[in-house]
Amino acid sequence: MMGRRTEASVALRHSDTDDRPPGVANPLPSPMSATLTHASDCSATDLAAAGISVRFQGLAAISEVDLTVRRGEVLGLIGPNGAGKTTLVNCLTGHQRPSEGRILLGQMDITGWSPQKFRRAGVARTFQSGRLFKDMTVLENVETTAVGLGRSRRAAAREAMDALDWLGVADSAERLAGVLPYTDERRVAIARALVVPPEYLLLDEPAAGMSDSECDELLGFVNEIPGRYGCGVLLIEHNMRVVMNSCSRIVVLDGGRRIAEGTPEAVQKEPGVISAYLGEG
């Protein structure tokens, strides 16, 4: 299990009071800029969204959002439905080109890269709908990634099996992915994203539709990912309870804007967060 972060960088910040001038080269808030400039620090390879906006035909899905995922942590991204969480994740994984702002991997500007280039650079994700290859076996689903990323057939099979084994679905390796129960499907999707370990793993509501106990079991795995694979995890959820127990830091989105960031305890006390979750209508 990861220890909770206690540095100053977890202090709350309100992006809607952000008054930085437009066009500033590095729009990251100061604690994060500080870590970025320490080139020797391992956080020099942070995955960051800097001032990201996405508009669909003039309608803003997300507006000027900043977010940094660090290796070794589980960062929670929460917000009510329609807050823009998936859009932000799409931007961070190359599935959506931001209308404004940049995506940075360390010092490298990777805005506009294709999704497959993001994956090769070490940014992996899962999808809300799972999107397994239903006509292929569970093992083959995971192997596809490993082979696609350049592993030999033999190495791909071995690494795929390791990932399935760790996630407790090795018994289903030879079953067709289309017949798996929902909870196993989610685990296979995570295995598929984790094989040939990425530096960052973005999980889009992996626990959606699960019972509390299934959800807790899945989060047990999520919490172990940073320690085991050395990657940073961005966990998207709309259920507060889920992220409160497993994330060292939380970013809250509402209406496409970042309304809070900090430790779970601090975020929970934020009036903006409380009203976003409870006070609407």
């Binding site: 599935h95 999704p115 497959q116 994956r119 090769r120 709908s129 999107r131 290859f133 239903k134 006509d135 292929m136 083959e140 689903n141 192997e143 596809t144 990634t145 082979v147 696609g148 990323l149 350049g150 030999s152 057939r153 791909a156 289309g178 598929r192």
Partner: protein, 304 residues
Amino acid sequence: MITFLQNVLDALSLGSLYALTALGIGLIFGVLKLINFAHGDFITFGAYALIIPSSADVAQVLVGGWSWELLIPTVCIAVIAIALASDYLVFRPLRGASPPTLMAASFALSYVIQNAIMVIYGARPKSVNLWPVLGDQTHVGPLTIPNLNLVTIAVTLALMVGMTIVLRRTSVGIQMRAAAEDFRMARYLGVRADLVIGLAFVISGALAAVAALLLVAQTGSLTQTMGQPIALFAFIATVVGGMGSLAGAVVGGFVIGAIVIMFQAYLPPDLRAFRDAFAFAFVILVLVAKPSGLLRAKGLVERV
């Protein structure tokens, strides 16, 4: 009983031809969502590759006179070349276009190939005597089996087994199946699009070449439209089997072959001329009962 067994062998033989063609169409559909109506013209092209290009009435065989070890690869290469050229010149510029656009383009390509063959070889049918030994018959007990039927069934089974091994065991095969099921997802996971698409056209071309040779051996004649009826039946086979499923394409091919032969054999004699109408009526029944085909194409069905 003996007649029935003969009919079964005929059905398997015709089904083999449809299955080979349906697999070629299904593979391209899976990877590109392209319903390639020019596949039948790939078959025609493969057949014409046997003779020297000329508009003379009497065909001069060139490749068609070679020994089979040389003939088969040569025809395969010719058809693979036209398949890859079609991709490069027609379908690649249309990547990302909608499936109806791609289908219209394949119709256009089909007519271009047909007319090009007519310009070069003339409009008259030509006769070609390929592998006369296949016209002989083998007697197995009370059964009389045309050698061609045996070869067709054996070649098809061998190709199916070979393709299954490639698709299941090799690294490129796994990538291909992933791409056939969900191309965007496969691409995201690192599967190389150009490799998979190129290979799909290579395999599809080779299958068309084999179908062409079996067809010429059977009919002994060449026409510019010879590949089209097979491609039509094969296309229907992919729909019946379940569009998007490779196994479905093969099953569909054999089902259509069986239907056609059995109607031919067991319809009252007066109605046999309308065999195809009955066959298609059966197809409509299948589709009404199972709109997504006999083998559900899982990749195309949204889960709730």
